[in-house]
Symmetry: none
DNA sequence: CATGAATGAGCCTTCATTCAT
DNA sequence: GATGAATGAAGGCTCATTCAT
């Protein structure tokens, strides 16, 4: 606006905005991972190399930023579900997805709380993307039940809760292997008693 | 000078110190439950009806307060373990304790993180009481393995991690029943494949 | 929102940053003078008509503010030394500068302690500007010695120390004249015994 | 008062009170020396092994404590003056006393400010003991003037101010020798121009 | 007389959010 | 659209002083 107001120049168009948005998201993910959902927005803006105002233009409220970070992760999970369902046996696919979930989501301190409220159904935010995760686990579980390998009294939700719980524990030197063992216990506990 | 507006007059004897300490602990537990470990200490003091300085006299650092709250909970769990082990069958005792754990510890947002670091072994605080929880779960699991009902490849730690995870999820209208189902899945997954 | 109640409206341009900075410095100098280096930063901010945060943006640590105040004073002294050296005889210049030092620096309670640590060489802050004062007194003394009017066993440092001491005493109804007499004693004590 | 109110027991009489008072004074001097006049009274009480209330009983206000510390020092100086005056020549006595002053008073951060206000005549406290120092320096200077060795236009006050100033500078590795040189300059500047 | 618990004002500091440029 | 300065509300913590026992 401070430009000579006659030329319709348009030098720095959307590209810049888009680039900023992405940089912010990237940094935000890292910061939320490091410090949890309370990470300083000022710090995020600074690390992303933008002014505080710019961050606020893109994400008017803290939750908007959290959700954006969260959604990008969730989309990866949903995609994986489709991939696994096509290429693996039902129980294998379930197990693989559960492991991916833990691996991927764990240590990302916002994600677990965010998912938490998804499961709880409490929060307004995340409304949009909750379907993605729920759909994924639901599909996997239903397929496994249909195949007869899994108890039919199992609530997909419960499994999701358990996974979220396990993800919370992501810390300590050995947590990766521990998580793996836990997934296996969950799987074992979910099988039909042949 | 602006006193808590409900009590008549109240002396201020030495017993008050103890009473204050307890009131602070009580309020702190509630606040930590509501808001997590970041709850405002000033607010806690206010709700407990004491000056900020009084809180600091009793608990010079935030961690001291957290630990005190945490320890009082943990002691209840350890006591329960002894009770259960005496009066129930191994698997029953384990299940009962797990349920108690979830019921009791859940929704208390400091506890889970605190236990987390116990499991992770990372934190200096809680050093003192970590043995209590670890001992409890360890005893229960070992007894169940010895009885032949439980897989002998099970790491007590893993179960604790799973419980902590489940506890994290404490929210939503149905979480109590969900937690119960999860515990049963964990138990089922832990049994020997007869 | 509660604005300083005297100014009409005032834009809030970028120039304001500079203006704020200066206002803060001004107030800080006055407050440090009144109360010493422990003056309340909150109070300084309030008197300068800015929010606490603004003060902290400009001077992240108390020492940054102290140093800024200190440096602006010291620069005036260094400038005066150059002026005096050009226009006066050696002993006159020295005396004039000493009087200026006392007049100028005195009653400014941060300055004296700050200079103190300059002389002591102890403090990290002020590192930058210590050269200025040291250089000034050094130049004046060396010139006076060279002229033969001053004892050649005189440590410029000592004179500086004495001046700082005298500056400390700045209070009481008669201190200005007293300081003047002291400077003269110091000068007299520094002359060669013809 | 909470004792059985019939026996006139009197087990812990003045001795204790006196001992406490002295211990407090001792500790206070050390603390004031370490931290200046802002030292924590709580800390002083603690180090003296008494309750905060006890300190307040003996010294109702901070200034009362400061003055008490101050006075005990000042009395030593006054005593020294009498001693020196009897055993030394006028100028020697003056010089010795000045050195003692610097040695003794220096590094005791309350003393200098306290004396400061004595000289300034501003403060109500210290009223009582100001005469002691003033008397000492006055006596020494007058005697030296009378002997013809000292300029008769010298204000004893001025010398005191200078000494206080020099005392302020007490820090840095070399301050003792520097202070000594300064005293000599002052003496030199005070002599009659033979 | 001594004790030490309690109080609460006051200071420092951080940070989300707004807004003029 | 971007920038970054300004704001002000919290919150943490300390400490002088009072007061019940």
């Amino acid at each position: 606006m401070t430009k000579k107001r006659s030329e319709p120049v348009q030098r720095k168009p959307r590209i810049d905005a888009q680039r900023n948005r992405e940089r912010i998201l990237e940094v935000a993910k890292a910061e939320f991972t490091r410090l949890g959902a309370e990470a300083s927005l000022d710090e995020i803006a600074k690390r992303a190399g933008v002014g505080a105002g710019t961050l606020y233009r893109h994400f008017p409220a803290r939750d908007d930023l959290i959700e954006a970070v969260y959604r990008s992760e969730v989309e990866k999970l949903a995609a994986a579900e489709r991939r696994f369902a096509e290429t693996m046996s039902p129980m294998e696919a379930l197990r693989a997805w559960m492991l991916l979930f833990v691996d991927h989501i764990a240590a990302k301190q916002i994600i677990a709380p965010a998912l938490n409220s998804v499961v709880g159904g409490a929060s307004k935010l995340f409304e949009g993307s909750r379907g993605l995760v729920l759909g994924a686990i639901d599909g996997l579980v239903k397929r496994a039940i249909k195949s007869g390998e899994m108890r039919n009294d199992l609530e997909p939700f419960d499994l999701l809760r358990a996974l979220i719980g396990v993800s919370h524990v992501a810390s300590g030197p050995d947590w990766q292997r521990s998580a793996r063992r836990l997934v296996d216990i969950l799987i074992a506990g979910s099988r039909t008693n042949k």
